[in-house]
């Protein structure tokens, strides 16, 4: 399969982007996937084709008479036990319906794509957790946190002038610089796993320091 041309921005990271795309892991579908899909499609087609051709069954002409007679019987004083008259048309209709159901269920079952056995089965008490929203390049909460810190330094000067607070703030500034430095490196040399690990460490540390600063302001 050929990859479509990449829409590239004006920032000139084209070679890196190309290399990153080349380095993306390739995933081959399981060998039997196509067979499974075609079997499923064939099954659906067979169903769609055969459904209109199914025979229709009209009730016998005397059905209404039977029904009326039955109603009359119900209205009349009930005998303790009465053998039910067999209605052959109803039996055959039921059988036909069951057959169609069985056929449909069988086709659907048989046509299912065969999946590898699931590796993990979550404990039944746990509801499925929706995925996190995609990570944004600039987290709006980052800015919100910084804004909060700025705004509260005016109303709580004694907190902001404390040694602990100043130290944390200096740490945050240093981490921001480090983050910027790593970002530049990643742009220049490509994001190797080692580099991303460092970035992750810095981002986790930055979030921790931000939480600690806000903790000082709100406690």
């Amino acid at each position: 399969m050929t990859s479509p041309p990449l829409p590239l921005g004006p920032e000139g990271g084209e070679p890196h982007l190309r290399r990153a795309v080349r380095e993306l892991p390739t995933h081959e579908p399981a060998a039997d996937t196509w067979d499974a899909i075609s079997a499923q499609l064939a099954g659906e087609q067979v169903l769609a084709r055969t459904l209109p051709q199914l025979p229709t069954h009209e009730p016998d002409a005397d059905t209404w008479e039977h029904v009326a007679a039955r109603l009359d019987q119900l209205a009349a004083p009930k005998p303790l036990w009465q053998p039910r008259p067999r209605r052959r048309w109803a039996v055959s209709l039921g059988l036909a319906a069951s057959l169609i159901l069985l056929l449909a269920a069988g086709l659907v079952w048989w046509g299912r794509p065969s999946q590898p056995a699931p590796v993990a089965v979550a404990p039944p008490v746990l509801p499925a957790l929706p995925a996190l929203p995609p990570a944004l390049a600039a987290d709006p909460l980052d800015a919100a946190g910084e804004e909060f810190i700025e705004a509260h330094c005016s109303s709580l000067p004694q907190v902001c002038q404390s040694g602990e607070f100043r130290q944390l703030r200096a740490q945050l500034t240093a981490l921001q610089q480090q983050e910027q430095h790593l970002r530049t490196q990643a742009q220049r040399r490509g994001a190797t796993p080692q580099l991303v690990q460092q970035q992750v460490q810095v981002t986790i540390r930055k979030a921790t320091v931000t939480r600690e600063l806000i903790h000082l302001l709100i406690s």
Binding site: V119, L126, P127, L141, H152, P157, Q201, T203, R211
Partner: protein
């Protein structure tokens, strides 16, 4: 003439006294920061809270303490406060701090907010709310809070929590808790829960916890110390450090994977092999499964402290 001289002398002397008095005061101002003035307003209310009533708290910059009790009522004490170095400013800003306590059919709402009439500048005081709530333990609870502390204790119903910035403390909880936390420090002890958590840039620490846990986190950390009452853990994390300290006697099945991260196991477990980042251990059948996935950050499985002491 002499009286005028005397007056001048007196006035000069008086100025001297005033100057002498004001000197230490003037010297003190720059040395120590001005003390913060705190103005508060307190409301207390008790509302009927029969079974089936959902309690909804929408708090802002608040300390929210919710504790379960066995009475069919909800008791709330809400303290609103304004802090500012200037007392008049704090007093003026406290008026902007508003609250609402209402009980309708099937729900009790507790809300605090800042009311800003058009054209009014934003308050410069640090406005806070402090809720102390006692409610029937089994009733459903929904809490949203930001920039504050949320503390849930002794509840057994269906609980839902959203917290941006600040601390979350969970204690003695049963039932279920569905938490969404961002930039928060969440700690929990003595939980027997169906716990689901969506976290971002948050640190989660859960100690002596049983029940089932489904957790996501991004750019954060997770530390878990389950008990033998654990029924399962599924952590699907990104760029998040995870450490786990299983109890000494319990046996679990493990599936751990740290893509581009380091996997550390205690020496008594079979080694995953050099450079490998995933590890599986199938315990006896029907044992709780601990499934942990993360990227670019380490997973550490600690050795249970009691394991070495327990007789083999």
């Amino acid at each position: 003439m002499s009286s005028a001289l005397l007056f001048r002398w007196l006035s000069g002397w008086r100025w001297l006294v005033l100057l002498a008095l004001s000197l230490p005061a003037a010297a003190q101002i720059p040395a120590a920061p001005r003390k913060v003035q705190v103005i508060t307003r307190t409301v207390a209310q008790t509302l009927p809270c029969p079974a089936g009533t959902v309690v909804r708290i929408r708090a802002d910059r608040a300390t929210v303490r919710v504790q379960g009790w066995s009475q069919p009522t909800l008791r709330v004490v809400l303290r609103l406060s304004a802090r500012h170095p200037d007392r008049a400013t704090a007093e003026k800003d406290l008026i902007l701090a508003q609250y609402q306590i209402s009980g309708e059919a099937g729900a009790i709402d507790l809300v605090n907010y800042v009311k800003l009439p058009a054209g009014t500048p934003a308050p410069t005081s640090d406005l806070r709310a402090d809720y102390t709530i006692m409610m029937p333990a089994a009733n459903a609870l929904r809490v949203a809070n930001a920039y504050g502390l949320t503390q849930l204790t002794g509840l057994t119903g269906a609980q839902k929590l959203t917290q941006d910035f600040g601390q979350v403390e969970l204690r003695q909880l049963r039932g279920s808790l569905d938490a969404t936390v961002r930039y928060a420090d969440l700690t929990g002890t003595d939980l027997q829960l169906a716990f689901t958590c969506q976290a971002e840039k948050s640190a989660l620490q859960l100690k002596s916890v049983g029940g089932g846990y489904a957790i996501r986190n991004r750019y954060g950390s997770i530390r878990l110390e389950p008990t033998a009452e654990l029924t399962g853990i599924v952590i699907d994390a990104e760029r998040t450090e995870i450490s786990l300290l299983p109890p000494a006697q319990a046996q679990f099945s493990y599936q751990l994977r740290a893509t581009h991260g380091r996997l550390s196991l205690p020496p008594e477990y079979p080694e995953p092999g050099g450079g490998r980042t995933s590890w599986q251990l199938a315990g006896p059948p029907r044992q709780p499964l601990i499934r942990i996935v993360t990227t670019y950050a380490p997973i550490t499985l600690h050795s249970a402290a009691g394991a070495l002491l327990s007789p083999r």
